[in-house]
């Protein structure tokens, strides 16, 4: 085991998940952690999720009550010889609580197959931010599922970033089960040569008076493929739903592939729902302007890619904690471009 492992986020309260095995960290106010036998609960109609339920031995359970002012990190790390690593996390955010949880994935250069599932229940009036960052080695395969069960008057923010495994599927599902709730779902696929990144998303507005935004950005270079399949379902009776889904793609070279499949299934009549998709390459006028100020072409391109994704991190706001997180997140994009 190397002395340095995982992804460091300064000031975060860190739980280690080495090769899928949960470990407890020192207690903090407002947070209780357990290790429980067996899988997390909830639906498992999805084949990958069903496999996770069947194979996982134990999972990390986090109960959040009150306000936790430190960022909670779950640091997933896969190491040693190539293996099939199954892991799971259950997070319960009590009514009125507020917290930020960051899950990071990283590991050594072996051909691991990861299958991870996190199930999150957000109680009434709670406010919850969940960020997922895959920085696994390129040789690994990464399957992950994130499910949100949302109560009433909730503020939820979800962001996934894929810049690791060459093959990844990040399945996001959410069910709005209480009125007055709002969720913002964001995601970023950074697909370089030989990379296939897929984000399927299923959002269900099950009751009246809930709103959501979905903003997914994908950047692909030659030989990279990035896929977003977003589905929003508005159930019968879920009046006054407002849901806006957007995919924006940036192609850096010929031979890059960006795919988007938006779907709206609407069974109520008094709703505002929409979706859009745009795809383009870097703007030549902008590149020329930056270069005309002495910035070399590689740096100018990196600035524009970072600018393209920056909007996803706007919510992080100000403050030391969030500055650190912002640097980690937007650093991912510029590091990725530099490596292309």
């Amino acid at each position: 085991m190397p002395a340095e492992w995982g992804i460091k986020i300064a000031g975060a309260h860190r739980f280690a998940m080495k090769n899928g095995t949960p470990a407890l960290a020192a207690p903090v106010a407002g947070l209780t952690a357990h290790i429980r036998k067996g899988p997390v609960g909830g639906a498992n109609e999805d084949a990958v999720l069903a496999l996770n339920h069947a194979l996982v031995r134990s999972h990390l359970g986090l109960e959040i009550s009150g306000q936790t002012d430190r960022i909670i990190q779950i640091d997933h790390w896969r190491g040693g010889p190539a293996a099939h690593v199954t892991s799971a996390v259950q997070i319960e955010v009590a009514a009125g609580a507020s917290a930020t949880v960051v899950e990071t994935f990283s590991g050594s250069a072996a051909a691991h197959l990861g299958n991870h599932a996190t199930r999150i229940k957000v109680g009434d009036g709670a406010s919850f931010t969940h960020i997922v960052l895959d920085k696994s080695d390129h040789i690994s395969r990464h399957l992950a599922s994130f499910d949100y069960e949302i109560g009433a008057d909730v503020r939820l923010r979800s962001l996934v970033i894929n810049d690791g495994a060459a093959l990844s599927r990040t399945y996001i599902s959410a069910n709005f089960g209480g009125s007055g709730s709002h969720g913002d779902f964001g995601g970023l696929n950074l697909a370089g040569e030989g990379t296939h990144l897929d984000i399927p998303l299923d959002i269900v507005h099950a009751v009246a008076g809930t709103t959501s935004t979905e903003l997914f950005k994908q950047v692909a270079n030659r030989g990279g493929k990035a896929i977003f399949q977003g589905r929003i379902i508005v159930a019968r009776g879920a009046q006054k739903t407002d849901a806006k889904m957007m995919m924006a793609g940036l192609m850096l070279a010929e031979g890059a592939q960006i795919l988007a499949k938006p779907e709206l299934e609407i069974y109520a009549d008094d709703v505002v729902c929409g979706h859009g998709a745009t795809c383009g390459d870097l703007d030549d006028e902008q590149l020329f302007y930056l270069m005309s100020r002495g910035i070399d072409p590689a740096d100018a391109r990196a600035m524009l890619v970072r600018a393209f994704v920056e909007e996803l991190f706007d919510f992080l706001g100000e403050g030391d904690l969030y500055d650190v997180l912002h640097d980690v997140m937007s650093g991912v994009a510029s590091d990725w471009v530099a490596g292309q």
Binding site: L290, M291, R293, I295, P297, A307
Partner: protein
């Protein structure tokens, strides 16, 4: 005579097989300010873009030397490092790039390429504050995305701010006066005049004479149909103001479409 800062020799440029510049000759010595005046469509912006190295313009003949170096062989970023600066007629908006970040990256890129040490953040902020104050630019504006949501006047002042930070040897200003009210024009002119010195030359492209009341040129060139048709002292600008372009470019052109077109 010492090596000119900028020497343009019989420059011919085509866009999509149409000749736009038809043999431009121009020499700028250190300390000189030259004005280029001409009708819309005469090729002034084309000249400024070709100097800055924008793609899409085919140089079919002639040469351009900056301090004796072959400018046309350089990429746009190399030209900037070599000392060329173009203040754009229409500055480009770049959402997602904070103006302050951009200024720092550009300044340090040039310092690094010239083998100079990068500026520390406090030094950088001090330099920007000073230059911004001179141009009456509110520092709150610098926190916003580059040129996004800037008024026409703010964009032009931001161009001059960049120019004063980057300290180029050749300043090309493409219609920096257009869209400015008289107060903004005076601020911009003052910012430009501060930068006048014996090691620097300026090419001021304008459609109107009024800018030249504030930035007094050493020479004025009248540009028509892709070439300089007449050159003279600053009084030539006043003559143009009175008579319009009709007396200077092709006699077939209607004087009614002169200066105010």
């Amino acid at each position: 005579m010492s090596t000119p800062l900028l020497e343009i020799n019989d420059l011919r440029v085509s866009v999509e097989d149409r000749e736009i510049l038809k043999g431009v000759n121009l020499t700028l010595q250190g300390g000189e300010v030259h004005a280029i005046m001409g009708r819309n469509g005469s090729g002034k912006s084309t000249l400024s873009y070709v100097l800055a190295g924008k793609a899409g313009y085919e140089v079919t003949g002639g040469t351009v030397h900056l301090k004796g170096r072959d400018l046309l062989a350089m990429s746009p970023d190399q030209r900037a490092v070599a000392g060329l600066f173009l203040a754009f007629q229409y500055p480009i908006e770049i959402p997602g790039v904070a103006t302050m970040t951009f200024l720092k990256v550009a300044l340090n890129a040039q310092r690094k390429a010239r083998g100079e040490a990068e500026l520390s953040t406090p030094d950088f902020i001090r330099v920007v504050r000073e230059a911004a104050g001179e141009l009456e630019i509110d520092t709150a504006m610098l926190k916003r995305a580059l040129n996004v949501g800037f008024s026409g006047g703010e964009k032009k002042r931001a161009e001059i701010l960049q120019m004063s930070l980057l300290k180029p040897s050749i300043c090309v200003m493409d219609e920096t006066d257009s869209g400015l009210d008289i107060d903004a024009l005076k601020i911009v002119a003052r910012g430009v005049n501060i930068l006048r010195n014996p090691d620097r030359a300026m090419l001021v492209i304008t459609h109107y004479q009024r800018l030249l009341n504030h930035i007094v040129p050493d020479k004025v060139h009248v540009f028509a149909d892709g070439r300089i048709v007449k050159s003279g002292g600053k009084e030539l600008a006043l003559e143009l103001e009175k008579q319009g372009y009709a007396g200077f470019d092709e006699p077939a052109l209607d004087s009614a479409t002169g200066l105010a077109s």
